[in-house]
């Protein structure tokens, strides 16, 4: 047996709170967490918790630094599965984890995106093995669409 580790990653605020509501999905498994706010470590006592800086896709240099931090974390932890509730930095995480390390990836678009997928969520379709929206109506439309398995609320 090898590489049985799970990386659960989300941006701060609502993305993190939604990730926390999904914890039964990996309870008891070998999991570590990545988010933005150092103080969120209190939510996951007993687990390794890494922070990255926030950056939007438009801030090119900041975004590269975030990608470098994520690469360091991935090299150290070598997760087999990456699961996320967004946003942009998490899209980079699943892309790197899948393309460089062969990890399997799960994207759950935030429940805040009730009428259309987030921009990152739209792009996640290309790098997520499981690509989910929390809104049934968003599974319909032109081209490849995400699946709906449920919602955090």
């Amino acid at each position: 047996m090898k590489r049985q580790r799970i990386m659960a990653i989300a941006s701060g605020g609502g993305h993190w709170v939604q990730l926390m509501r999904l914890r039964p999905a990996w309870e008891g498994l070998d999991v570590f967490y990545v988010s933005l706010d150092p103080s969120s470590a209190v939510d996951v006592p007993g687990h390794r918790y890494y922070t990255i800086r926030d950056a939007s896709r438009k801030q090119k240099w900041a975004f590269l630094l975030v990608a470098a931090s994520l690469l360091r974390i991935l090299l150290r932890e070598r997760p087999a599965v990456v699961i996320t509730t967004g946003s942009a930095p998490a899209l980079v995480a699943i892309a790197l984890a899948r393309k460089l390390f062969g990890a399997r990836t799960i994207w759950i678009d935030s429940i805040a995106n009730a009428e259309r997928l987030s921009t990152s969520g739209q792009k996640a379709g290309a790098v997520a093995d499981i690509w989910l929206t929390q809104w049934p109506a968003l599974t319909e439309g032109e081209g490849r669409r995400p699946e709906h398995w449920g919602a955090v609320l």
Binding site: K2, G12, G14, H15, A25, D37, S40, I111
Partner: protein, 169 residues
């Protein structure tokens, strides 16, 4: 105490300014605002730039009422502690967010127990009055998502881990 929060990402000066003016008029007792990186500094409410996660959760639990942007972190945390919540959605064209998804969030949450939506600044006093009249909610949100959803995710994760295990020889 009334707790006003703009969440952890972007400033929301409009909410802070309107609540500051309302506090001066209504004298509702202690009001604490988490204003983030906002440039409007309130003069009638107490304020902090940012609370840690633990302080934020604790402040929510100790509040009589929460007035906030329509962000899911605030909505879910308020539901967990059963406090009435007034929401003012951020508007994209005023530079308050990158999209208008908070309007959609406010629309689907409208009328849910403990949630009072103010579509405009002028709606805030009425929404606050309704929220105060409703008081604390008896039914609080359970800590985790529906078991059918987390169970399906767990099965998928375990499936991935199985495929990744080295074959026994």
């Amino acid at each position: 105490m009334i707790f006003v929060t703009v969440g952890s990402m972007f400033p929301f000066d409009r909410l802070i300014r309107v609540m500051d003016e309302w506090t001066a008029r209504a004298a509702p007792g202690r009001v604490l605002a988490q204003i983030g990186h906002g440039s409007y500094v309130p003069s009638h409410m107490e304020h902090v730039r940012r609370l840690s996660q633990a302080e934020f959760n604790d402040t929510m639990a100790r509040s009589e009422l929460i007035v906030a942007h329509a962000g899911m972190g605030t909505v879910i945390t308020a539901g967990r502690v059963g406090r009435p919540l007034v929401l003012l959605p951020r508007i994209e064209k005023w530079g308050e967010h990158t999209t208008d998804h908070q309007i959609a969030t406010a629309n689907w949450l409208r009328g849910k127990p403990g949630i009072f939506v103010a579509d405009t600044d002028a709606d805030l006093p009425g929404a606050i009055a309704a929220a105060r009249a409703a008081g604390a909610q008896e039914a609080t949100l359970p800590p985790f998502a529906d078991a059918a959803f987390t169970g399906r995710l767990r099965a998928a994760i375990l499936g991935f881990l199985d495929q990744n295990a080295e074959p026994r020889t």
